[in-house]
């Protein structure tokens, strides 16, 4: 590698990294949590034990619901699971964004109970933070920005690789822990970056697609498909595989439909059935579920006719996809960790946290590089405004997002069922903590704020298992958590995170007190003394 190429790409890496770094930190931290969205949903689910209608009574439940509420027939969902985040066996809503779905269940006496309730999920909130990095406004604004950020991130990856290539063998397995802190951070940044490079490439390229697919399709339609893309998409739509037919027709029992799907793919585990136009000859059921043996887009599904029992579409049924949806499902799986079960999920969680570390350490290196050049002048140093600002922003944004997410999770348990509109509360809490942290960091300076915000992060993370404990020891509060391993896992991870934050807070405090005084990380009074020297 020519040295001028390396020099050039060092500049590219610096500026792409510094622009995208903090957005990506938030996206990666929240994304790691999103990998375990289901356990989080189960952790935050309401304590009131819901007795779901027995699965064996599903057909009766469907028939009686349709008799009482014919409007439900247009589209309703039968939930097949037994986990605590389900609140009813059968639900329906008006449109995709309807937050007040109806639900139907059979009481133990055999009466049909219909209810409408406000539903909104904490896991979805964290997922939104992941997709938009918390950029407020309509989701598509945040996603468009993150699409551009992801493109910049891809360039940062390639340039980082080019920069390290010449010294790859020498530097990769060297972690020089010692007095030269910048060297140590650089070694850590390099080893994490190189080892997780394939993961980062996959995430960057797929994130660009997820964020920008609509404009990309528009561009393709205009340039390549000559306006025919809409009709090609319609012809590919799995939901229209069954032709419209408004004649009334009896439907096959749930068991029979599930058996048919099992026949098509024995390892597929169905979790919900989405009925459309129930009771008509043109009715369809999408049987959604998981299959850990394949790389899937998340949940996969088969479309089956509840009237004839014929499977109408398997384009999205794991292992039975066609060539094209099969290839694309692999890309989805590589982003969402929807393959290989829990082992892969744990790996993705760790890779995500490692990614967040990568961006944080990148910013630290930027600050540290600028500091070194100032030292050459000799005599007392007063750190540049740019490094002060960048260090304050890095600390405020990164630690602020960590604190904000933890506190929002804790608040969910305390507020759930007690406030009318939990969405408003979630947003208020997240942005207050986040913006408060950023402001705090600029007011106090990076050195002091990093210690204080790390303590806040530790307390906020510890509050998650403490909330669970309080719920169990004070049943009067009505927030007993679920006793499932999934929910307990959230508490254990939070507890471990709290311990990590305590360790980091203590290290940061030590650095502020005893580290070099000519640094943005030295305690403010020591920096002042240094400047007046």
């Amino acid at each position: 590698m020519r040295s001028d190429v390396v020099r050039l790409y060092k500049v590219v890496h610096t500026w792409t990294g510094i622009t995208a770094g903090m957005f990506l930190f938030i996206a990666f931290y929240a994304g790691s949590i999103t990998v375990f969205a289901e356990p989080l949903a189960r952790w935050s689910s309401s304590s009131a034990p819901v007795r779901l209608t027995a699965l064996a009574q599903s057909d009766e439940l469907i028939a009686r619901t349709l008799a009482a509420r014919p409007d439900a027939g247009k589209e309703f969902t039968l939930h097949l699971g037994e986990t605590e985040d389900l609140w009813a066996r059968l639900t329906w809503k008006k449109g995709k964004d309807d937050k007040t779905p109806w639900s139907a269940d059979l009481s133990s006496a055999g009466d049909l109970r219909l209810a409408q309730s406000y539903r909104s999920s904490l896991a979805d909130f964290v997922d939104n933070i992941h997709r938009t990095a918390g950029i407020p406004g309509a989701n598509d604004i945040g996603e468009t920005v993150m699409g551009v950020v992801s493109a910049v991130y891809a360039v940062a990856l390639v340039s980082g690789l080019i920069v390290i290539l010449p010294s790859l063998v020498k530097d990769l397995f060297a972690l020089r822990i010692g007095p030269n802190l910048k060297r140590m951070w650089l070694d850590a940044h390099n080893v994490v970056g190189v080892v997780s490079l394939p993961f980062h490439i996959v995430i960057a390229l797929s994130a660009v697609v997820f964020c920008l697919h609509e404009p990309l399709y528009d561009a393709l339609d205009y340039v390549v498909y000559d306006g025919r893309l809409k009709s090609i998409m319609a012809a590919s739509n799995p939901f229209t595989a069954i032709k419209k037919d408004e004649q009334p027709a009896p439907m096959l029992p749930v068991n029979v439909l599930l058996d048919r799907v099992k026949g098509a793919s024995p390892s597929f585990v169905p979790v919900e059935m989405r009925y459309r136009n129930a009771g008509l000859r043109g009715a369809s059921v999408q049987v959604w579920g998981y299959d850990t043996r394949y790389m899937t887009r998340g949940k996969g599904f088969a479309v089956i006719s509840p009237v004839t029992g014929e499977i109408a579409n398997t384009d999205y049924l794991p292992g039975r996809e066609g060539t094209w949806t099969g290839i694309v499902a692999t890309f989805f799986a590589l982003h969402f960790a929807t393959f290989g079960g829990d082992v892969v999920r744990v790996c993705y969680f760790l890779l995500g946290i490692a990614g967040a570390f990568l961006f944080y350490s990148g910013n630290l290196l930027w600050i540290e590089s600028r500091r070194r050049t100032e030292r050459r002048h000799g005599g007392p140093v007063n750190q540049k405004t740019s490094t002060r600002m960048m260090s304050a922003a890095t600390v405020g944004v990164c630690l602020g997002a960590i604190c904000a997410i933890s506190i929002t999770i804790v608040a969910e348990k305390w507020l759930g069922g007690r406030v009318a509109n939990i969405d408003v509360w979630r947003n208020a809490i997240y942005y207050c903590v986040f913006l408060g942290s950023v402001l705090w960091s600029f007011l106090r300076g990076a050195a002091a704020a990093s210690v204080e915000l790390l303590w806040l992060a530790a307390i906020a993370a510890a509050a998650i298992p403490l909330t669970t404990l309080t719920g169990w020891t004070s049943p009067a509060l009505g927030m007993q958590g679920s006793a499932s391993m999934a929910a307990l896992g959230v508490d254990l991870v939070a507890l471990f995170a709290a311990l990590c934050f305590v360790w980091m807070a203590r290290s940061a405090a030590r650095r502020a007190e005893y580290g070099p005084a000519d640094s943005v990380w030295a305690a403010p009074q020591r920096q002042l003394r240094e400047a007046a020297r």
Binding site: D4, V209, L220, G322, I327, V328
Partner: protein, 94 residues
Amino acid sequence: MKEIRPDWISKTLAGAILGFSLALALAGLFAWLGPGGLATPNKFQLVMWLISPIWLTTMSLSFLFTSGMRAWLCLGGANLAAYAGLFACRHFIH
């Protein structure tokens, strides 16, 4: 060997704009000439997925051009060739 001029702005723009249009055209060529032709159901998804790797690889490597001018000339030429092929497809294949 010739020295590489930084030419940040012109190279970045060449990579971002011409890299994107090149990716679009190459994905389009795959749509027309790849297995199954243009209208095969569900193929359009993979076609769309092809854009980001081509675009971002081009953009990342465009700083290797010895100058911004060369970046525009080379990527412009590649674009011309790709779009000539694409419009030939649109014209001759139905």
